[in-house]
Amino acid sequence: MALVGAIGWATLALSRGEEVSAAWMLAAALGSYAIAYRFYSRFIANRVLKADKNRATPAERLDNGVDFHPTDRRVLFGHHFAAIAGAGPLVGPVLAAQMGYLPGTIWLVVGVIFAGAVQDMVTLFFSTRRNGRSLGQMARDEIGPVGGIAALVAVFIIMIILLAVLALVIVNALAHSPWGVFSIGMTIPIALFMGVYLRILRPGRVSEVSVIGVALLLLAIVAGGWVAESSWADFFTLEPGTLVIWMVVYGFLASVLPVWLLLAPRDYLSTFMKVGTIALLAVGVVVALPTLKMPSVTDFATNGQGPVFAGSMFPFVFITIACGALSGFHSLVSSGTTPKMVQKETQIRMIGYGAMLTESFVAIMAMITACIIDPGLYFAINAPVGVIGDSVQSASQAVAGFGFTITPDALAQAAKDVEEASLLSRTGGAPTFALGMSEIFSAVIGGTAMKAFWYHFAIMFEALFILTTVDAGTRVGRFMLQDMLGNAYKPFREVSWKPGVWFASAVVVGGWGYFLWVGVHDPLGGINQLFPLFGIANQLLAAVALAVCTVLLVKSGRLKWAWVTAVPLAWDVAVTLTASWQKIFSDDVKVGFFAQRDKYQAGIDAGEVLAPAKSMDDMRTVVTNSTVDGVLSALFALLIIVVLVDAGRVCYKAIRDPESVKLHEAPYVESRLVAPASLFATKEEKAELRAAGVGPEGGIRKEPVETGSRT
């Protein structure tokens, strides 16, 4: 394994000026994951956390058969993976590919091993020890009210930005695409039908309704192709601005409709599609083994003038690739649902660390899909319209300016192959990913003729779970807002008080809707401006989670091992604060929000219109957006500093006076449950299961009859 990994890395690193097979990237990543899982995660489980197989987990102690119940490790791995993996790991790597495949790949692999998977695993462990307390609650309990409130506010604002950026990805992919709009639109009636089926016709028959749903979905994709060629095409050809309005209306309605009608069935559908497509993609990459056409490192890594996002490799690669390497959002899943279902503390390694390694692998595949398409085409798709213009000729010229070549004809042909009017400036990552995926799939099944189908299949698959996230995220945001407003006016906390629900939903939808609107109309390019903010926000949340983990390691007498989370925390803080600093103070108008603002304000004062703005209105839009984005960057940096200072204070106190430490751990109860720790049971574990008289999924030890008094 080590050898395979080493050869993979060597080939990736040493190849100069020639195309490398994606197989090497897979070998490097998988080899590294295997070593990390075998050694580092075991070290964390046994030496640092001291996971105890004799200690009962909350699932065993509080088993109520519904939310607390010991769940088979392989099932829980599936649940946990489906909950952490979404559109994020597919988008970030695609954008980061502008710096070449190497920087992003190294960060994905090194980041997940030493930061991302560690964060997920340690958070899961500590939350399990606290009966599944959420990250926010742990911050409040273990750090204090100030850090706790800062963490809560951070989560809320991050949620708004996250939803706006994800929605923007979808809008960019669906604009002027009747095929896409029709297919995605059809998911709503399909989901409604599934909801009624599950509620009224055959309650709880999830697999059968999911199979029906997926079949209908595939039909909707095929039908999209017919619609695009029919006289209805005009009706489904929408401007980005119109799509924003639809998204906002959808977001509001979806979040106030009952869960069973739209959210729950959509969730089943998107999970089904997600797991299926990712498995299919893995098989496709292995079978097709495409070559990487993107250089290993491009000039944009050093000069910071990249059209996809501005700024140099440090810190912006590490900001752009969040999910897949280190994602703060996972700490919300790792503290909440999963810890209430873990059978054994020893399984946390496989579930927390293992699932995150799998997500990183998904991100590696996204990186591959972005790097196998022609670099010229990649930049034409991902550069904002203000940079490359709106014709294939101007785009071809602009791409030549970046140092790559693609003819106008090739650009037109690429769009024609997937039956889109144009692929220029389809920023946000989804179309690039879809194009790469269609290339891989069509190489395996169907050839060029199937390209358009696979492209729209990929768009649909991303759009489906982004819309699910928009719905679920709006609900979570509303819930948090209602909770906060409840402090001022009690009825807000009542989920059945409709005016409160409507008001809070409208505020949340209005929040992300504002950024979405701005993102679509920003002359500088929405993804370009907003994605760094999203990345900073996500990494900020990771900093909160890692800070909570570090405090807990110190407080629980594991000071010697605190570096396990403190080192990734230090790195994450360095990245986040450097990025924030540059976003706030940089003189480079492409990077610094306030420098941008000053430049365009000066333009307005002098009565000049500066490109890429086309009118005075555009100029004012830039000024407003830059100001809002700059203020948000400053707010994020401030929040992170508050949490860190508070965490530092608690650590200092715990080291100075270990007697004063108060941990909020649930007391030790001896476990009566037997279950293997890893995917495959070892010989000893099998013997133990047999002796306990339980099946391979584990269970409560059967007591001999004469000592059965304990039950």
């Binding site: 088993d63 109520n64 058969g65 519904v66 939310d67 119940h69 769940t71 088979d72 392989r74 099932v75 599936g78 649940h79 489906a82 909950a83 952490i84 993996a85 979404g86 559109a87 994020g88 959420s134 996250l162 994800l166 599950l198 509620r199 309650p203 709880g204 028959r205 999830v206 697999s207 999911s210 009952p258 869960v259 069973w260 959210l263 729950a264 969730d267 089943y268 999910c323 994602s327 959002f329 996972h330 919300l332 899943v333 909440g336 649902t337 779970f465 699910t468 996230t469 679920a472 995220g473 609900r475 979570v476 509303r478 819930f479 989920v495 996500n538």
Partner: protein, 67 residues
Amino acid sequence: MTVADVRRVAGRIRWYVRELTGESTYDRYVAHARAHDPEARVMTRRAFERSRTDAREADPREGFRCC
């Protein structure tokens, strides 16, 4: 591979899918209730599935998915 092997593998797959989709939650709930009191009154499947989705209404953080 014998027929018995195929049946065993198919059975494991069916078990895994039912666990993953939550279809087996109702059976588990009934088993749980019966384990404590064989005479316990249990909800019908319809009522149980309703109460489960409605609980998500009350606290949407349960089952939240990530970006």
